[in-house]
Symmetry: C2
Subunit: 255 residues, 2 copies
């Protein structure tokens, strides 16, 4: 079979159209089979992938949008333990029983529930595809590890700075643009970083006051001073900038 016979539902999907992602690595017949046996799904903010459904369809690939893994504490406190985006493949085989968090959409999410059997077969046989999903899982793991490090000891402002860089790194066309897309709401951001929405708000304000960033809207951010933001993210929260006469910028530390 040729790729000309790609199913309609796959043509538009980033997992197929982006050459770095999983489905683009499949041979025509593999893609065909996987497509036939899998199911796409659109979610909107607040929708949850139910435990029941995850038992039948434990492998989920994200085409677009942001899906969160949330943990709920007894007294109602929530945390967002991880964010999954375009290209992420979430493999929940055999763990729906454990006390895993719920998968909840933070906006419009389009995803594909992959057939476990076909997925397994492809993983065994298609080395290219195997490498892609291995890379993706490693990414997820290291992202989570980094995130743990971020929220463990960093202060609010530092966490936020780190998050801005995380968004920048995950941006589709990395493109070094200073414009960073913030794909989640303030409220979700707070839960992801382990802080209060009020604190998030205050920290954004602080960054703007120091002229390090500029927020044209709630979902976009322009970084005006990358090095300073980077230093804040790395734990030098008191840095500021100091323009030297010849126009160069020098990073100084207050106090």
């Amino acid at each position: 079979m040729k790729s000309a016979e790609v199913k309609d539902k796959c043509k538009q999907c980033s997992l197929y159209s982006d050459s770095r992602l999983f489905c683009s690595k499949l041979r025509g017949d593999e893609l065909c089979e996987l497509s036939d046996q899998s199911r796409t799904l659109s979610m909107k903010r607040g929708d949850t992938l139910k435990a029941k459904a995850l038992e039948t369809w434990p492998i989920v690939a994200i085409d677009g949008g942001v899906l969160s893994m949330q943990h709920l504490l007894q007294d109602g406190r929530k945390t967002i333990a991880a964010l999954f985006m375009r290209g992420d493949i979430i493999d929940l085989r055999d763990i729906s029983n454990r006390n895993r968090g719920a998968l909840i959409a933070l906006g419009n999410v389009s995803l594909c529930r992959l057939s476990t059997q076909v997925f397994e077969r492809i993983m065994e046989k298609n080395v290219m595809a195997q490498k892609v999903i291995w890379e993706n899982l490693r990414d997820q793991a290291f992202r989570a590890i980094d995130h743990s490090g971020d929220i463990a000891k960093k202060q609010a402002l530092e966490k936020l700075a780190s998050f801005i860089f995380e968004c920048r790194n995950r941006q589709e066309n990395f493109s070094k643009s200073e414009i960073v897309d913030i794909p989640v709401r303030r409220i979700d951001l707070a839960e992801y970083l382990g802080m209060q929405p009020e604190t998030v708000s205050r920290c954004f304000k602080e960054l703007e006051k120091r002229e390090i960033v500029e927020a044209p809207s709630l979902s976009a951010l322009r970084i005006k001073n990358v090095p300073v933001l980077r230093r804040i993210a790395n734990g030098d929260k008191d840095v500021t900038i100091n323009r030297i006469d010849n126009g160069r910028i020098k990073v100084l530390k207050i106090a």
Copy 2:
């Protein structure tokens, strides 16, 4: 080749002798080749896997001991972002360049630097071995995600309770024993949980005062009341126990 020809260095290694771990899934010739091309290493507390060495040997398998991934902030604050133990395979291919943390031993660690080439070949061809490392990486990812959730919103006492369960789950012979081995020092524990050693100490004391645990030594813990500890870990930090006349224990909430 038969497994009788297993190299001496592999005979004692848990990766080979534990039937759930990677090397036990290898065919005789695969094990032989991997063994020949790989290098074992013993570390003691404080030893670091240098970036240089990780470029040549980016894949590391832990035989025993606890290896930490540490992030260092500019002003000296440290965090332990992840703990790796027996059976974990750490794949750092192509990421030494990024701002990854350092791999530092928290005690005596024995590990094996796997040959990248042989590892890759095995991953492509040996489905059983492939499944084992895929499982392991998923475990690492979900552990990190859970940990993120734990430290994001939980209070000190709750974090500690969660950590005790994490230790219990990772224990070799899970065996439902109430004796939990705490494989890291208080100081490291504090850095892993994002708190101060003083706070860790106070929290242990609190758990003992409430008669939920008992600490025969710094590295061992007896859980006297699993359900209450579980509830604390889940966010009900004010629970206590209340013995009913007939001997059953009922979990109640203070206040």
